[in-house]
Amino acid sequence: MKVLMTEYLRIDLETENWECRVCEHVVGSARGNYKEGLLVYKRDPEDIHPSIIDPDKYKFTFCPDKDWVSIYEFYCPSCGTQMEVEYTFPGHEPLFDMEVDVDALKEQWSHREEILEPVKGPNVLVDRTHGHNH
């Protein structure tokens, strides 16, 4: 059985591995930090958050200050899907963000049916494409 843990990651309870949900790539042991099995890139904030006012004229431009914040991007090494993004302090180590108790997960899912598509929960809004649109 496989448990869908995030938009792009699942845990195979039999092999106890993190897997990429896009390309099936085995990322690493589910008892460890999945990020250790991914590629990491330090992104320049200007690539994502443009200076909408002129950085040559002004100190604050709507673009984050790259000396004050680092953006780490984590990619699947097999398909290049961006699985996680972390905004952090410059020089800070990436966080071990999901430390799973695999034994407890196995026990929990031994009482459940496998779910192949994530459960979304109750719908509270009309779809944007059918809403008010000028």
Binding site: L4, M5, T6, E7, Y8, K35, G37, L38, L39, V40, Y41, K42, D47, H49, I52, I53, K57, Y58, K59, F60, F62, C63, P64, D65, D67, W68, V69, S70, E73, F74, P77, C79, G80, T81, Q82, E84, V85, Y87, T88, F89, G91, H92, E93, P94, F96, D97, M98, E99, D101, A104, L105, Q108, R112, P118, V119, K120, P122, V124, L125, R128
Partner: protein
């Protein structure tokens, strides 16, 4: 004949009585304010629950009480004078005899649900038996000091005990974000406060109403202490009458079902919610999720401060551990008292995770917290906290970010998995003498226009609601302008190219350009972080929103410009700042912690609300959604192409899906080339210490035993960091200028005019 044990008990009682009688100051009681749990079941509640077991009756009473809370909410919203009241920054609620909030209004600021029980418990503990005070039918108590349990002291509560034939059965209370409170800056949330004595009225719970009438002498004292005396009176009356309406509805239940049935209903409701919360927690996977957010400002100066969270779920326990968070800054206003942090975490559950549960204290009751006293999220009695929203909002965001990672796998969901909401009150706080000659101090309800986080299946909604009140309104600007002497020349226009990208993008924020017109005694403040560093995180490969500065144009009267050369006026921040259309004007940018600034007629203050977080890999964004955003002016074509790798005709916006697919495939390959294996990346980029040239506060990497206190040379014990006093930024600037002057003098060989020490 008395035994030794009897004697010991008598001695103990005597000591307790002596200590009680000789207590010189009834300050905040740690037993009360550090405990967010519902009180133990009392013998009276036990008896009532034995007597009333019909769940239909319990449910019927609960529905009536809920309706009463909505009615009270409506009264305050319709009649309240404070902008916060008009636009929903309020709550009304019914509390058990022990002080637990059981039923709160569905709308409004739900953080109050987790806070107002503290002052009620203070009243119960200290004033019921106190012969100089007492608690009687028709009494009303006022409170605002967050050290006795509150968000910040701009929020005032009116608390009314409800009796039946002389027996205290429950409490009714109403809380409003009043704004003005007599602090050193107008509007009630001074960022210049360096001690708690700079923060205006600090009301421990005290009696201000007898026989359902406000005591005029105390009222006059309160009015005399604030900038808006009429508002103080009006809203005290409004809250009192809302509480009286609640009392009326409660007494109607006494008539039909009896007070014991109501007591049983309150207790049963709270205990059921606690049980249900434990059941829901049990459905989550057992794990620890770690996250952090970055505070980039104290509102006086830029600095890096960490809010750190490890959220652990084990069985039916859920533990929020804030160890590693920045120490408090003892002369800055951004600290929060512990109840405020807990309340805001509770808000995350009530708003975005389990909105179907009754709005009450019980939802938070089984959740556990670990924090260190003397930190930003659990500050000391001495530390100012008038801008506690800063650390409170970050606490919300780390809670929201961490819980999303638990919720994804759950088969039963009560809401959709959500990226973090924008979390800052990007708005104008204002004050001075208005066009009618009245002194005012308050804020624009645009603080309620935060961009929503993207959900797992759809984009976030623009400027939807604040994180502290899902159903608060941003108000009508034109109504506001009847009372204030400034116009928002640009209002509610989305700020293009500031979205948080993702498979689903965050809901965006809008531009506000304000300018004073009809007063020589008027000014503005802005009190948010995030002008250098985003204040939130994205989710599952989505990004956060960008950063949001303050832009100013001075030495211009834009109203003259609008009369003589209206074409010079530009309707966006980027056109105004980049094109600099007014020839003799000065253009500048600032962080968003602007202290109260007297404005001149026609000068421009320009800010933008922020974007909620993005969800998922931007390369998976539906290309038609990208085009819709371009058509709606949310993003420019060139930027959309760069971010989302879409190919389309620039004139017709016709998509080339094949070319788009190829662009995206190529970009995925590029990522694989650019990205480094984790270990290699860590070796190259991770440092053993924080940046040396930026003041940093908090833990570093995995070491949670030590926290930095503004310098890599100042390391402290995380469990007891001690006070930190930050130098006044003006003194820092004077020091820099003096050093520069000294260097120039030396270079030019010009002696100082006065060398005496």
């Amino acid at each position: 004949m008395s035994t030794n044990i009897d004697t010991e008990v008598q001695d103990q009682e005597l000591i307790q009585k002596f200590l009680k009688d000789t207590t010189l100051f009834l300050g905040p009681d740690p037993e009360i304010i550090r405990d967010h749990r519902i009180m133990p079941r009392t013998p009276d509640e036990e008896e009532c629950m034995d007597k009333y077991t019909d769940l239909n009756q319990i449910s019927s009473i609960r529905d009536r009480l809920q309706s009463a809370c909505e009615e009270g909410f409506e009264m305050v919203e319709q009649m309240g004078a404070a902008p916060g009241a008009k636009w929903g920054d309020i709550i009304t609620g019914i509390y058990s005899a022990s002080g637990d909030l059981t039923i709160g209004s569905a709308g409004g600021v739900l953080i109050f649900s987790a806070l107002v029980h503290h002052p009620i418990k203070f009243i119960i503990k200290n004033w019921i038996e106190e012969h100089t005070v007492g608690v009687k039918e028709g009494d009303g108590f006022i409170h605002n000091d967050s050290r006795y349990g509150n968000v910040h002291n701009t929020d005032q509560s009116m608390i009314l005990p409800v009796f039946h034939e002389g027996k205290l059965v429950c409490w009714a209370a109403s809380t409003v974000h009043e704004g003005e409170n007599g602090a050193i800056e107008p509007g009630g949330m001074p960022s210049m406060a360096e001690t708690s004595f700079d923060e205006g009225l600090k009301m421990s719970p005290f009696k201000v109403v007898e026989n359902y009438e406000i005591k005029r002498d105390i009222l006059t004292f309160l009015q005399n202490s604030v900038r808006e005396p009429k508002l103080q009176y009006e809203d005290m009356k409004v809250k009192l009458f809302a509480c009286m309406r609640l009392e009326k509805r409660i007494k109607e239940v006494f008539e039909t079902d009896g007070p014991d049935a109501l007591t049983a209903c309150l207790r049963y409701t709270n205990e059921s919610v606690v049980k249900e919360v434990r059941n829901r927690i049990s459905e989550w996977p057992d794990m620890t999720v770690r996250t952090q957010t970055i505070m980039d400002s104290t509102l006086r100066e830029n600095a890096l401060l960490k809010i750190n969270l490890a959220l652990t779920k084990k069985g039916d326990r859920l533990i929020f551990d804030f160890t590693g968070t920045s120490p408090e800054l003892t002369n800055r206003a951004i600290n929060t008292q512990l109840p405020g942090m807990k309340g805001m975490v509770g808000q995350a559950f009530m708003n975005h995770i389990w909105p179907d549960l009754p709005r009450g204290q019980a939802g938070l009751s089984p959740i556990e917290f670990v924090s260190q006293e003397g930190t930003l999220v659990d500050c000391s009695y001495e530390a100012p906290n008038s801008q506690s929203l800063m650390s409170i909002f970050h606490s919300f965001t780390v809670a929201q970010h961490a819980t999303a990672k638990f919720l994804y796998s759950c088969p039963d969901k009560y809401t959709r998995v959500l990226a973090p909401w924008h979390n800052m009150i990007n708005t104008f706080i204002w004050g001075g003498v208005n066009q009618h000659g009245e002194m005012l101090g308050n804020l624009c309800a645009d603080l309620n226009g935060m961009g929503g986080g993207a959900r797992m299946d759809r984009d976030g909604e623009h400027a939807l609601a604040p994180i502290f009140a899902t159903m608060a309104d941003i108000g009508e600007q034109e109504m506001n302008e009847e009372e204030v002497p400034f116009l928002q020349l640009v209002s509610k226009k989305m700020t293009a190219n500031t979205q948080a990208p993702g498979k689903y993008r965050g809901g965006m924020g809008y531009t506000m350009i304000a300018s004073t017109k009809d007063s020589d005694q008027w000014g503005f403040m802005t009190t948010t972080q995030g002008s250098k560093v985003p204040t939130i995180q994205g989710l599952f490969g989505g990004y956060a929103g960008g950063s949001y500065p303050l832009c100013k144009v001075t030495d211009v009267d834009v109203y003259d410009v609008l009369l003589k050369n209206p074409e010079q006026f530009k309707h966006s921040i980027h056109e105004t700042m980049n094109e600099q259309p007014f020839p003799d004007a000065s253009y500048s940018t600032h962080h968003m912690g602007m202290g109260f600034d007297i404005s001149k007629r026609g000068e421009l203050y320009m800010i933008s609300q922020g974007s909620g977080g993005g969800y998922g890999d931007p390369l998976e964004r539906d290309p038609t959604y990208v085009i819709m955003d371009i058509e709606e002016g949310l993003i420019s074509s060139d930027w959309a192409k760069k971010l989302y790798k879409v190919e389309f005709n620039d004139e017709t916006f016709a998509l080339d899906l094949e070319a788009t697919e190829k662009l995206r495939a190529d970009y995925r390959e590029l990522r694989k080339q650019q990205g480094k294996p984790y270990a290699e990346f860590v070796k190259e980029h991770v440092k053993d210490t924080p940046p040396a040239d930026i003041p940093f506060y908090g833990s570093w990497n995995r070491d949670l035993d030590t926290v930095y206190a503004g310098s890599i040379n100042d390391k402290r014990d995380a469990k007891n960091p001690g006070p930190i006093y930050v130098t006044n930024p003006k003194d820092v600037r004077i020091g820099e200028l003096e050093a520069e002057l000294e260097a120039v003098r030396k270079q030019a060989n010009i002696p100082a005019t006065d060398t005496r020490k």
